[in-house]
Symmetry: C2
Subunit: 415 residues, 2 copies
């Protein structure tokens, strides 16, 4: 039997035990993992080092190696996050709705775990602990399929988690690592409908696309972000510039950073020079439309591709637009339905923007960088959903639950 | 350009207009459709008759023809359902959550339409009106891909809907019929991620399986039902028999009818004879396990296949079990996660059953036949979801909505 099927079966069995565990039992397990991570830090770092050496031997770029590296402070952070997670409310068991029917049936809708979650991710070993702990907190079992480049780190982390689970009341098989990191395993997981209730891909655009296009298991899509700020005619100059700088430069490599600024032509006439100067000063490379290019001939002209690009870097496209509808049209055409902002003093334009822009999070006079589970106050985040089913925007613990209806009667039959 | 792409583009455009329409404008459109259906009854029946004649010429079974037939009273029913739908609350625009962050951001989660819905269904022309009206009520555009055997009926119904939309404020392209009913069109729809936000298959198991296995567009699965009643040791004899008879015979062809009864061995010893006699008297053909077969040698022995079967007919499998855990194990192994009932006076067993059985709807001392949007008091039903993401169990209008976060600030940037 393949590793996936064997582990899938074990995971399904673990779910039937997990579901009987109390919030306090689950929290104790999280605390055990937090403790063991600290206790086993030397072992984890030693194994992580094998991955790093291997990556260096293979000439992997240092920016990718940085994502792979664990150190004492990163492990400490994981441990603290686990302790915080233990303090968050457990969404499972919550009564979401309750109603009584004229025939006397009492119907309750209860939040329940999803079941078995398949996690497919790239070379960040922190996702191993993150995914395992969020799944445990919500009573789900998880099959972790990380990258071959992090296999030693992932093995070490999962063995530490297993040891912690042995000290707790939760089944060890609640968290399992898929050792076979071949492409075929991922492809096989896409179709494991008999064992997996949901697949969560975490990583680059190519990985997510592959999962969305090929999986028959339902997917929780955590997507790419081609986000925009639209500066309306009446936008406050300083506020607009501050927000653009923040949304572009505070952390360009993340999905809620912006890639294009749309500027109302009237605002552009007055303030474009100052906006451009500020961006250039911060080391942002610009790609601009014809109008702006005429004013600043030294700046590269944007191509069609620029409007589509998620640079994830200190690069920004700028386009002038004739008004809010023009901006909305551009965003709905090129945006990735993630986070979009309008800077304006005109309430009518806010209303149209909020109604007509098709995206998970819409901002008025604020930076798109706030689209984040922690910034929203959710305490934990599984990712940011850019799909429309099940969950949209930052996903907290409730996104890892489903529901069931439980109905109590006294002999009711249907007429 | 293919019909699908052309209509997909028109649907996306219709969505941007639909979203600006008020509940009252949408309700007026529903009323217009209700009126036009009555007004155009002769035309609809004439076109429906073409489909029926064609089916008869092709030797289609009368039970299938019955699903295709429209008549005055069926059209009247559709019209009344539309009027009732107009009176139901509109879920879009509802503020689902609202919170203020310490930095002053005010975050609201608002229910919004899903966008463009692709409906793939079989030879029931009533689904055409049903799907179109539920989508309109929730501000969604819909591409309807029905069966070739109902093409004349569907064309007539959609032209009536179009005429009604012309009389209303909603865009005519909100509802479009795909004329090309080849298998290739369906397959193409599975992958139309650029134009469709969700696919809803309605029909038999094979259709639903094909969609789930092949679609990259997110799916709202309305599934098959292999449902069970478990009669526990302490079950009241009369209640148990009444519920089994109701759940099996009141309407055997629907998904919330039961296919297998599990009987505690102690209860079986006392009452099996009476249960069997009652079922046989109602014309139910039985398939039983070894224990029961020994008592009633004339009754066919059940095979492994029987536990897996959705008969949708006057056929029932019966199995004795040693207790609640045994019953739960059988259900989780063979059930389709639809509706499951326990008949018992023992509260502990109810608790285990509710906790451990993995299904959309769980009943204590009531018939599984209540799993239905109308029986749950939802007023309308899109189908019964057997998946765990987005919606589970009977789906009312809110299942046709997504959400967006709208965030109001006064210049907040992320530190």
């Amino acid at each position: 039997m393949s590793e996936l099927i064997t582990k899938g079966k074990k995971a399904k069995k673990a779910v039937t035990v997990l579901i009987t565990k109390t919030t306090s039992q689950k929290n104790k397990a999280l605390q055990h993992i937090a403790d063991q991570l600290i206790h086993e830090t030397p072992y984890i770092l030693q194994e992580n080092n094998r991955d790093i050496e291997h990556a260096r031997e293979n000439g992997v770029h240092e920016s990718l190696i940085d994502r792979l590296i664990l150190n004492e402070s990163r492990i400490k952070e994981m441990s603290v996050a686990l302790e915080q997670l233990a303090f968050l409310p457990d969404p499972t068991g919550n009564v979401l709705e309750r109603f009584e029917r004229p025939n006397g049936l009492i119907i309750e809708k209860i939040a329940v775990p999803l079941g078995v979650i398949g996690m497919i991710y790239e070379a960040r070993p922190n996702v191993t602990v993150d995914a395992a702990s969020l799944c445990l907190k919500t009573g789900n079992a998880v099959l972790l399929r990380g990258s071959s480049s992090a296999i030693h780190s992932n093995r070490a982390l999962v063995s530490v988690i297993h040891h912690a689970l042995e000290l707790s009341d939760l089944p060890v098989d609640s968290v399992q690592l898929i050792e076979d990191t071949s492409r075929e395993t991922a492809t096989q997981m896409f179709k494991m409908n008999d064992y997996l209730d949901v697949l969560i891909p975490r990583g680059g655009k190519a990985l997510i696309q592959a999962v969305v296009e090929n999986a028959s298991v339902p997917v929780l899509e955590t997507g790419a972000g081609n986000c925009h700020v639209y500066i309306d005619k009446s936008a406050d100059k300083k506020m607009a510039i501050d927000i653009v700088l923040n949304a572009k430069t505070q952390r360009p490599s993340v999905c809620n950073s912006i890639e294009t600024v749309l500027v109302h032509e009237a605002w552009a006439k007055k303030h474009m020079k100052e906006l451009v100067e500020n961006l250039v000063e911060r080391g942002v490379e610009l790609r601009v439309d014809q109008n702006i290019h005429e004013l600043f001939p030294a700046i590269v002209l944007a191509s069609e591709e620029d409007w589509q690009s998620e640079y994830l870097d200190h690069i920004l496209a700028i386009k002038t637009v004739s008004g809010t509808s023009d901006a909305i049209e551009h965003i709905n055409r090129y945006g990735s339905k993630h986070s979009e902002a309008i800077i304006t003093e005109a309430e009518d334009n806010v209303r149209s923007f909020f109604q007509l822009v098709d995206a998970a999070a819409l901002y008025h006079n604020a930076s798109t960088r706030f689209t984040d589970g922690h910034e929203f106050g959710f305490g934990a985040e599984i990712g940011i959903s850019t799909q429309k089913l099940h969950a949209r925007g930052p996903m907290g613990l409730p996104a890892l639950t489903s529901s069931k209806y439980v109905i109590r009667g006294n002999g009711q039959i249907r007429e």
